[in-house]
């Protein structure tokens, strides 16, 4: 099966997909309610897209293709309000966060769709364990080559996004000491990791993808669970490492940060990516998952070690010209504030201290997502 040709997209257009938790308001556990919620949402037009995910306690929303931070944030807020209104009718709450603090994977039910049933058959308990919630940001690329260039140039910045978005410190009722425990579930899949270092789309097609499909291990791009993955049907690359933030405003901030970063990279702001950049990749990624903004990142070229917090702040300063061009100055200020306030994992830990129980954490997350906390 040959790869679909890369559809060209407007450069630096972007879109956000969010996987959200459906919370039973009686006991704050996950609710197997996506079929009921989708049935209710179908009655009225939806300001975006809403689709099921692999287990019935997850729901995925997607914005349309946007070009600016302001309209993206507005659309995400509208989607949130529509969802909340429907969820209220069904005694459900919605929450962000990369993991549900105390759900048990064995209780999750697979959504009745053919692909999910197949995945469940293949991966066994990993499918139910994949009840984790992430944010995917798509960035439009003018060609497959540009896509691969951005994919590899962004590898240095992946820990930024992990640390900024991290919101999954609790798993099965316990503090994992990680900022993002969610990514540990992603890494369990055999086809996770990163794309092979190829900079031309034609090479990617012939030297890698066709060979992989020939082995029978892979049928389509969907089977790869890479941190950044090209999506040829949309003409985008997809950043998949972020945990779902605790509110939609933060989701919009992260998308704008990624957009500005891509603009800077396309302007030639960094030396070209090389294979050796990946020497420090897994270490940096682990530091971000474990320590969040306090983690240490090693620069792939100079091997300088700085804290992620410092690295993000430095990068934000460099992105001023791009931010002005893309009308996302407000967004970068928001990211700045996020670095100082602390990420979602920090907020959830504080909520636990205030509430005294993991159920209280979920309650706080539900209220924060609704914008009332």
């Amino acid at each position: 099966m040959s790869l679909l040709p890369f559809s060209d997209s407007d450069s630096l257009s972007f879109g956000v997909e969010l996987e959200l938790q459906l919370i039973n308001l009686s006991d704050y556990d996950l609710a197997a309610a996506s079929t009921d919620l989708l049935a209710l949402l179908q009655r009225k037009p939806f300001p975006g897209q809403v689709t099921p995910e692999i287990t019935t306690s997850m729901i995925e929303i997607a914005s349309s293709v946007q070009t600016r931070f302001g309209p993206l944030r507005a659309q995400l807020r509208e989607i949130r309000d529509t969802l909340l209104a429907a969820a209220q009718t069904l005694n459900l709450g919605l929450a962000g966060g990369g993991t549900h603090p105390f759900q048990h994977w064995s209780e999750q039910r697979i959504f009745p769709k053919a692909r999910y049933q197949q995945v469940s058959q293949l991966y066994g308990y990993l499918a139910q364990q994949f009840t984790i919630f992430g944010q995917h940001v798509h960035i439009g690329c003018r060609s497959g080559d540009e896509a691969l260039f951005l994919l590899h140039a962004l590898s240095r910045y992946v820990p930024h996004f992990i640390a900024l978005a991290a919101s999954s410190p609790y798993v099965q009722g316990q503090d994992t000491l990680f900022n993002s425990a969610r990514l540990n579930s992603v890494f369990a899949f055999p086809l996770s990791g990163r794309a092979p270092f190829l900079l031309r789309w034609a090479d990617f097609e012939t030297q890698y993808f066709e060979k992989m499909t020939h082995t029978g291990v892979v049928k389509s791009m969907k089977d790869f669970y890479w941190d950044i993955r090209p999506k040829p049907e949309y003409g985008t690359i997809e950043l998949r490492v972020c945990d779902t933030p605790l509110d939609v405003d933060t989701a919009a901030l992260l998308a704008a940060y990624l957009q500005a970063l891509c603009a800077m990279l396309l302007d030639g702001g960094e030396p070209p990516p090389t294979e050796d950049d990946y020497l420090v990749y897994t270490y940096n990624r682990f530091q971000a998952c474990r320590f969040g903004l306090d983690g240490i990142t090693v620069h792939p070229k100079s091997y300088e070690q700085v804290s992620l917090r410092e690295d993000v702040l430095r990068t934000l300063r460099r992105l001023q010209p791009q931010a002005e061009r893309l009308d996302s100055v407000e967004a970068l200020e928001g990211v700045h504030e996020l670095v100082y306030r602390g990420n979602g994992a920090q907020w959830l830990r504080d909520a636990r201290d205030r509430a005294g129980s993991v159920e209280g954490v979920v309650d706080a997350a539900v209220r924060r997502f609704a914008g009332v906390a």
């Binding site: 039973n24 308001l25 009686s26 006991d27 704050y28 556990d29 609710a31 197997a32 309610a33 079929t35 009921d36 049935a39 209710l40 429907a86 209220q88 009718t89 069904l90 005694n91 105390f102 048990h104 064995s106 209780e107 039910r109 697979i110 009722g173 005294g356 129980s357 159920e359 209280g360 309650d363």
Partner: protein, 419 residues
Amino acid sequence: MPFGTPPRGQVRGWHTRAMIWNDPQLLAQLPVLVWPLLLLGAWLIGEWAHHRLALPRITCYALAGILVGGAQLGWLPASAEPLMALAAHIGFGLLLFEAGYRVNLRWYWHNPGLLAAGLLDAALSFVGVYLVAQWTGSPPAQAALIAALGMAASPAALVRVLQEQRAAGQISERLVHVATLNCLLAVIVFKAVLGLTVFEQSGSLVGALYTGVWATAVSAALGVMAGVLLPWLLRSRVLSGDRSLPYALTVLALVGATHLLQLSPIVAALVFGLVARHRREVFSRHARGFGPLGELLTLALFVYLGSRLEGALALTALGAGLALVLTRLLTSCAVMTALARWSGTTWRKGALTGLGLMPLSAFALLLLEQSRHLALDLLDGLAPLMAALLILELLGPVCTQLALRWGGELPARAPEDKS
């Protein structure tokens, strides 16, 4: 006496054994053994039927109780009965607490269709059952009492089936919310009707109503007090472990107190659960159901209820009983289906919710027992009611299970861990 009276002064081995059999005091204690053995037997039947026939366990417990009940095989000793009755009432209280705990009052506010469905279901069930009861020959006062009972659905049986089947979804949520609402309404109406019929002779209509409503209000107030006081008492971080025991003890105290004061233990326990949850007191998953204590008391509850049903009496009015059951079924299904779309669900799920609301017997029997102090043993002589309760005791939980299965709210594969 099979062994005869042992001669004085001769205390040899077999004479000692003979003395034990001859001791009247000891013999009087033996029946105490019957109940635990009966419960063990019921539990075994329940497990077997659950695994082999996929029946809800509480149906089997009730069946065991019916078989050995006073009116059937008569194996149960009267002496142990007050203890069993108490265990049953406490077990019921715990389940009602669970039910109240699962209710989110704000949902009625956000989903007026649901509230309307509950109220309409109660109203139409009352009217329907009243008419059918009169048609099958009951005098108006008795018909009104039967109708008041018919308004409700037993939250205890529902909660038990939901827990056992690990059900989750809109039908499950709606069952609990509608049943709790209707249960409270039924208690109020029942007490009001009781007050009317009892005091009709003594002439004070207003007095009767007042007593009925007042009893319910005070019970609710006790429930609220407990629901506010207990979380406050337990707010210290030091007590951060499993909190279910103090709650179980409080339910015990509430049930006891409301019994003594001739109020409504049902209302008190339900309201306690409602308020505890809304004070953001949250139980971890494994603490719910009150663990082995809850299991034991639930077992005792349903076996006891089964033993209170008189098969012979019920069989004399089976047709009438069936008519009552079908009336309830049809009104619930009709109302739930009609209001399904307004309340945010599909017609199919609405109809299945109506089906799932069938269990009644636990609530009805205990409510009737609690009214015994008014010197009205209503159960005797109300053959159609007895028949209806017999049918519902066995088939009610089965209906709920079917509703959940057909609604797709049961897990595809039973989880290994049954804790």
